[in-house]
């Protein structure tokens, strides 16, 4: 395959200690572990109708919050973006709520069930922005970001439309955190497009994406500026990849994906 080229035009982040792209870039430069103990509050999603806003799960709030941050600097309107959501266990508290009901009185809440599907944040995102463009949700364990990045860049290249990629992990309540130790939510959103799609807008950085043999491209370790226990968060790879914005123009990151490795490489130049 020829490498797929794309530009990253805007990004949003929601993680403890990393609430802005500027904070992430600073942590990258200074190599200081970012996490703080201050809770990163998840705002009620303003874009949803009142009923949906009240019902919004933590996962929905997480996705909408980091998307709002990415949209601030986006050259594209919210309703023209294709959406790819990438998550490991993307339902968190709703999954537990369902399991609890099913193990006891089997009185499942009619509000919980539609929020228990992995694409609930994606559906709510489309409702919040009146966005009728296609949306996909991929879930591929700790390789969820790699899977989402590949699907997003493929969509952007094949269909020549800008794409919003959201990589996220809602917190897993106990005892589900015993299965997947994600205790605090992390997420980031990338707005990307293939060359020539964004008009005069300049990207934050340009990248190439290719598939490689895992033997020749072992997985990149998480950088030291991320808390080590975020290794259990699929979205930590997406946050780490944003660190390439501060890296030299040939820096790369290796992301295992199934039987292959995805190579994300920074390439020189900004501008359309």
């Amino acid at each position: 395959m020829n490498p797929l080229r794309f530009g990253l035009y805007a990004a949003g982040i929601h993680a403890p200690g990393l609430d802005t792209l500027a904070a992430l870039r600073l942590a990258t430069r200074e190599g200081v572990p970012a996490e703080t103990l201050a809770p990163a509050a998840l705002p009620a999603p303003a874009g949803l109708p009142a009923n949906e806003r009240r019902r919004a799960s933590q996962a929905v709030r997480l996705v909408l919050a980091c998307v709002e941050r990415a949209l601030v600097d986006s050259p594209f309107a919210a309703d023209e973006l294709r959406v790819v959501c990438a998550t490991d266990e993307g339902t968190g508290e709703v999954c537990l709520q369902m399991l609890e009901s099913l193990a006891t009185n089997r009185q499942v809440s009619p509000l919980a069930f539609p929020n228990s599907v992995q694409n609930a944040p994606s559906g709510n995102l489309s409702i919040a922005h009146g966005n009728r463009e296609p949306g996909s949700v991929v879930s591929f364990g700790l390789e969820s970001f790699a899977s989402g990045l590949l699907c997003a860049v493929v969509d952007a290249t094949a269909d020549r439309r800008p794409v919003m990629l959201v990589s996220y992990d809602p917190a897993m309540p106990q005892p589900l955190a015993e299965l997947l130790p994600v205790t605090r939510p992390t997420a980031c959103a990338w707005i990307l497009a293939a060359d020539g799609v964004a008009g005069k807008a300049a990207p934050l950085a340009r990248f190439e994406l290719a598939l490689a043999d895992p033997a020749a491209a072992p997985a990149s370790p998480l950088p030291a500026w991320l808390p080590a226990h975020w290794a259990a968060h699929s979205s930590a790879r997406a946050i780490a990849a944003l660190g390439l914005l501060e890296a030299p123009a040939t820096a790369r990151m290796h992301l295992p994906l199934g039987g292959r490795t995805l190579v994300l490489k920074r390439v020189a130049g900004v501008g359309a």
Partner: protein, 399 residues
Amino acid sequence: MSSPPDNPSLGLVASTVVHAAGPGPGPLWDAAIEGRTGLRRNDLDWCALDAWLGRVPGVEGTALPPALAPWDCRNHRLAWMALRDPAFMTAVEAAIARHGADRVGLLLGTSTSGIRSTEQAYAHRLAEGQWPAGFDWRHSHSSDSLARFAAAALGLRGPQTVLTTACSSSAKVFLAARRWIQLGLVDAAVVGGADSLCLSTLHGFDALQLLSDDACRPFDAARRGISIGEAAGFVLLAREPAAVSLAGGGESSDAFHMSAPHPEGRGAAQAMRSALDATGLAPRDIGYVNAHGTATPANDRAEASALASVFGPRGVPVSSTKGITGHTLGACGVVDAILTAKALEEALLPPSAMLLEPDPGLPVDVLREARPAPGMRYAMSNNFGFGGSNCSLVFRRSD
């Protein structure tokens, strides 16, 4: 005839499916043509709901081969029942021999994966204070486990993913695979999906009052909701001649409501129009639509409205598989794709099983009996899911 590189004609080289009406594409087609249902009154010993189910016989007694044993759960047993089909295995082996194991992609859809295992394990955790010995969430319930299991079963080492957009999941994988092949990431791909019976969906749809207490009757005047089924299906797509190929498709979002369709089927119509645009076809070119047809009053009304807006009132013959297999949720996309391909191959349109009296208020030509369709070149398969996720696929009969 060679295709332009950016618009691959992808043959459906091999397919396999298990469903309530029998193992394999053959029994699915036979049941469809005969209008025979695989639905039975709920006889699960772990769920007491008054409902009809598309339960696949023999799942409980199916053992995975020792090498695949770590992945044991209801969903992967169901998947294995489909994957072990010798003709399908042989076709995948041939694709691996021809292209290399790392050049065959794997893109599967599921909604609930092996959640039944977690339901059982959680009840145990609640009673005993610890997870049951041997419970392995990563190998059973985690969404990626379906693809990792299938990759191990088939010997695939290419890029992989699992799409989870509720009931459109295993339809959307066809279009994702098409893009992977189009851009040269892989030369061929196994697509499909699996969803199995679990308390989450049974009680979830019951809570929404969408479960029928009778066998589901898509497009019928007396339809009262869905019957949940389980299925697993897989298709090998490659740039090779085959009786039927994937011509393209369209996707959209309703941007309307999490669990209710847009009343006029706005997003559904957009997906169908987008599929026609992508394939350069006019509505009159489509000889048959395999509708999503879930049999809830609102869903069928919305889809009928969307079909009428794209094809004209009663403008194209339609039928639904849900009366045969039940609504197999994340697996229904691949089940419907396999049936639609068979209809093209046989030039015969299957009736809508369980239909007694078509709803006179729906502007659709619902097939009451099998109808010959000589000369049919193209057919469409629709799947729509929670969250307003819509997908329409177009298949082409080879000359």
